[in-house]
Subunit: 285 residues, 6 copies
């Protein structure tokens, strides 16, 4: 169960409205790596977790904080939209600034949400749960969380660079710092797990069942051998259980596939065409 | 530019058809963490990379290998669908096995693809580029790649557990081993970058611009303090630049938000209702 | 800002696992009218609201309760999935019950979420913000909320009819009762607003600007006049400002449209074809 | 079966082209609450209706009218696109007006549809049936219809405010008036049903089966008690069968959930990690 | 404007209900190549057409017929769902037939639509306008239409093979025949256009502006030269303006791309890493 | 299996950056008829093909070429984005050119992809496999391929018209020429198949099973008889097996549908309301 308090986690007040920036800010509210994504990803991981309180509690703490971030961004976006213009070509022609705003803002911010934030990204794509995951395996999921915080902080930093308004920059500086913490935090949680599980997910699959002979091979499948110069191409593998091996020529272990014809009730291509026994048609239609 | 050779990277031949398993196998072909996702994610990262050949070459090598994995899975699925039944309740009633298959298979495998693999997951959701990312920042992207390989190997292992067919298990054992390599590989690439950039993405944002005072705080926002027992709640932060601090009571740094009324052309709720000056209506409609 | 407590709002314990029902229950968690939809719809309406505390507080109260419903359903679904089988045709053939379960369950519950709930509906379609709305106009939005609670309770009742398990029925009986309250509640809130605004949304558009002459006409556009027998076809209009009028023959007030040719840089169909001046081709290809 | 006549239901002629407004107008053609949504929602409700002709006929009449509205909007949009420019930065730089238009128009209107209307909203999101519903329960569905007409009229009014062109305003004035009628109409149809069913959907679920003890409680789950001032918090419930009761402190009726471990074939987190028996790793990686 | 008559274009009555087949039949109602797709594709092409009445009239005629096909399928599906069971594992276990039906039917047919047809495909994916197109160029669009009728008839035939019910087969036999007509019809319309435009779309792009030297080359980019045996690899090109030429070795006309670094405000990877000047990290983490 | 070489198939270098055009160019990379669509469509058709090498080889050759086109476009887009500005209203106001660019570019090109190409269209809609098909029936699929090349070349030509940059025009001229080839090629492949199968897909369905009596009828379902003037309305049918027949009045072969009531467990509308036996409510609420 949840309770809500009215205060924001951090202030969300721009100096003045800016509908163009409101549109851009939607990215970290309702985009692929926005706050809705992290909130629901962590909460679902927490609700689904089948084990010790410690990790579930961690997930619920951070998932609940992310709900507060959605709230801050929604508030900021609504304020950036204060008095946003509506209009057409005629209005745009009369005032170049109105024209620029009409071109750069999200028209749904006026027509659909009535100057409110939307659960959508900076192009107006509505948020979708395709963005998130909760697999039941903590190490796999914490890596997804570290990824989300890395991509999310990167986007917040780019928005910081784009912003001029001190109120906007102040709120972004807070969110960026929280992402610093969250990257550190997931990194720490991952370290805890890797110390016990080693690094390959899932750690519980018996090694003798996978094809060990290809488990540390690097296959060069594109022209040039620059990729041989990386840590991944030589030396002990990161899990300490093998050695990286670089293949300039990647082998094909399989054979040419050839599929059986479909049964008649599928009505694929005519058998004689499929079998290649057909003659070519004359060259003129 | 690409070239195609006819041999599969590894054999993809089941002992006998199994349309139920064909449906399940679609998950790692066209699902969120399937082979289409990793292929296009790595290729787009490679094409967009603005820097040294070494990383671009790495991305192109592995992206190109993943294309071969799509091919193996597509071939396997087509073969598992050989002679799959079509039918209705009447046919299901006559033969319990036909009934089980009709219930467990993807009907589009007969109606739409004519016994072929589809770019879709195990529930028939078509693949979408919402699943992938390429940010231009290598460390952020390599973390996304490690995540994808971790979730992908986990799913392949679960499918291995579900499978009875030796041919299917053989192919999965190959894919699982390649995912072992790819986790090791991204881990190595990440280690290379972190050795130079430290761990917080992006590393180039000036630290004095973020709110350092909250950059290492853990906020307890859910009942219970089990989360205080983790590495993330005490000691030096993982980036070595701060110390984790645990707050039993998370502070609210902001104030209660209050938004300005919308301008009249937005036609929101009536001003007197918005302002709360309206009287309550009588208790009967 | 939000806080989380560990207790569920109401118990969510089935007597025994049932992966088939787990799949069905996803509908009211992550479907069009599921708990994610109402939670985010109410919260976004609350965050965006530009007016008196009373309505914002109402929206935050109920939105926050819906987060607890997501939690209950996620917990119930995870428990219904306890020990769910994985498998293929061979396993299905050996045991009809396993076959029925494999046919009726969501394969992603095993492969993807590891026996956890997903943000998806009963067909595995991931939740999308296409399902929700927040327009800034309270009356429009409260109607959307009443709709969501009506459709949601209907689905919960249908699931109650499908269920055998007493623990499942107990939880559904709670959710159904809360939906009774929420329908009453939105109905009351709507009554408050309609008492001051009358019924047509938005109430602030000047009546002289719309085409009043067609504002109360019912146009019969399908064969038969059964629709003339309803309240909507005669008598005073519901807003009290007009009288319904039934037209057996619906008029066409406009003319035949004819569009100008596209400019050459659009490369539409050849001008002489567009103009119909082309001759017919001979009857044999 | 349907027949088509060439005359539009109402004229759809702008005074002059305006590609910026064409983009905005797409919202009420192919957006969440646009004409495609209402047309297909009403028609599906009509086709699926299992009962008396009166309601089916109503649904078919109005669904068929909405097809005519799609047609009017498509025509208007095509005309607003007459001669729309195509171009790049160089053209935008040479002429500020061309720049404003290129910024504010939907690029697909030139590249994809060749100056024609699209089944998409004002951000170019293609229409999806996620927007609509048909449940078989008339009262639930009529509420969805009233919602759609309320949101739809609100958007049309906002577009009216944005428009300068008299031809556009004239068509919008017609559509707004029809939405006035349709709100009145669904309101009347709802009144007919509520007079016989009371207000809670579905009316056929036995009241003794739901948890009556929580069916009229209002739970205060967010800070502050402003929500206690509404009609929904005191007095007789709107269905006349209970009394609203306000809880300042919302109770948690359930207990802390604790989930069973997943079986080994799911390959979740290691058992000793899950159980919390793991030691913390050393503080340095 | 449209009018609706109550009679179906053709009867849609099954001998007895069959919820499994109802699910499958959804494919040609709301799937990629279903009746919603063709109806809206033809109608949008008609509304957007900028030219002679003859083609617009053709498109409106056939688009309007497809609306009648949606209606027939919706009716048939509702009837196939008559009395469809709802239930869980317990019910499935008691009666194998109920189990088979629960496994093979779409659970949303009970929970969501109340035994009605849905605007969705056989996997419950909601219809989306991503499936359709209207480009303004008649020849391009008529080819899309011929494709849709070809894929659509193929799916209808596969469903005919799956069906046992004489009423279902009777309706499918009608739809299949109409698709025969529609393939003939679009073929005829295409022949008319090609007789005047030749075959390459768009026909209006000046030939000297494209790279004529590669306009008839076939590039062998996959192992083996079986593709050289087709009509497409030798002889006069189909447009009569060139000659096909087969290249065993496909040339690369371009050079290796190398992208400029991103500016600092984008916060991509560190410059020294990008440039490859970084040293490798030690082999142990 | 695939191999990658570093050279582009054709040069992809603009004279200078142009973020507005970069956004537009996304249409033919990641849009409905873009290069991702054709690449994956042809490759899936190839992998699924159950027959002679000749057609599979053809599909693999061309699918592999399309991968090279994705690569060229991704490279071009990244270069067009070189140094693209980020910013807000304040920056837009200071410099009209910056304003125009901010209005016309895709904000995700800065925030999300860091000046890289995205798997998305010109409105930022991510690519989805809803765009493509592979049915197992070659003739149906080759028609889909001809459609894709026709729509794709049309879009490339429109972009050519919009472009000023010689480097962009040069690359488009190459792609347009390749589309000329690919239209010729699919046309040739279709001719081969039609010469053996005749034109109606699928050719293997026994003619006596479809309703032959309606297989060549043209139904006039919209006002006016302009559609009678086409080749499709008279003369021998294109398959040579019948004669087109034009009906001014389209017959309705079916009867009015009437559906059975839903069973009680579905909780549809009350039986007495459904049956129309309800009285009208009084005219005042």
């Amino acid at each position: 169960m949840f309770y809500h308090i009215k205060e924001l986690q951090h202030e969300a007040k721009p100096s003045c409205p800016d509908p163009i920036f409101a549109r851009q800010l939607q990215e970290i509210l309702g985009g692929q790596y926005g706050e809705i994504s992290v909130a629901l990803q962590y909460l679902f991981q927490g609700w689904n977790f089948r084990g010790a309180e410690k990790y579930r509690d961690l997930l619920m703490d951070v998932g609940t904080e992310e709900l507060a971030h959605i709230e801050m961004l929604a508030t900021m976006i609504s304020r950036l939209l204060d008095g946003a213009p509506v209009g057409d070509q005629e209005k745009a022609a009369k005032d170049p600034m109105v024209g620029a705003v009409l071109g750069g803002m999200n028209p749904q911010h006026a027509i659909v949400s009535g100057l409110g934030a939307m659960p959508a990204d900076s192009n107006g794509n509505r948020w979708t749960a395709n963005y998130i995951g909760a697999s039941g395996n903590l190490l796999a999921d914490f890596r997804a969380n570290l990824t989300a915080e890395s991509q999310g902080r990167l986007q917040a930093v780019r928005l910081y660079e784009a912003a001029s308004d001190p109120g906007v920059k102040d709120m972004l500086a807070f969110l960026i710092a929280r992402d610093t913490m969250h990257q550190n935090m997931w990194k720490a949680a991952i370290a805890e797990l890797e110390a016990q599980e080693n690094i390959v997910v899932p750690s519980t699959f018996p090694k003798e069942l996978e094809k060990r002979q290809v488990a540390y091979d690097f296959y060069n499948l594109s022209e040039g051998e620059e990729s041989s110069k990386g840590r991944w191409a030589k030396g002990k593998s990161m899990d300490g259980l093998g050695s990286f091996k670089y293949y300039s020529q990647a082998p094909a272990y399989g054979t040419k596939p050839s599929l059986k014809p479909a049964p008649p009730y599928i009505h694929d291509t005519l058998p004689n065409i499929r079998s290649g026994s057909n003659q070519e048609p004359p060259h003129h239609e």
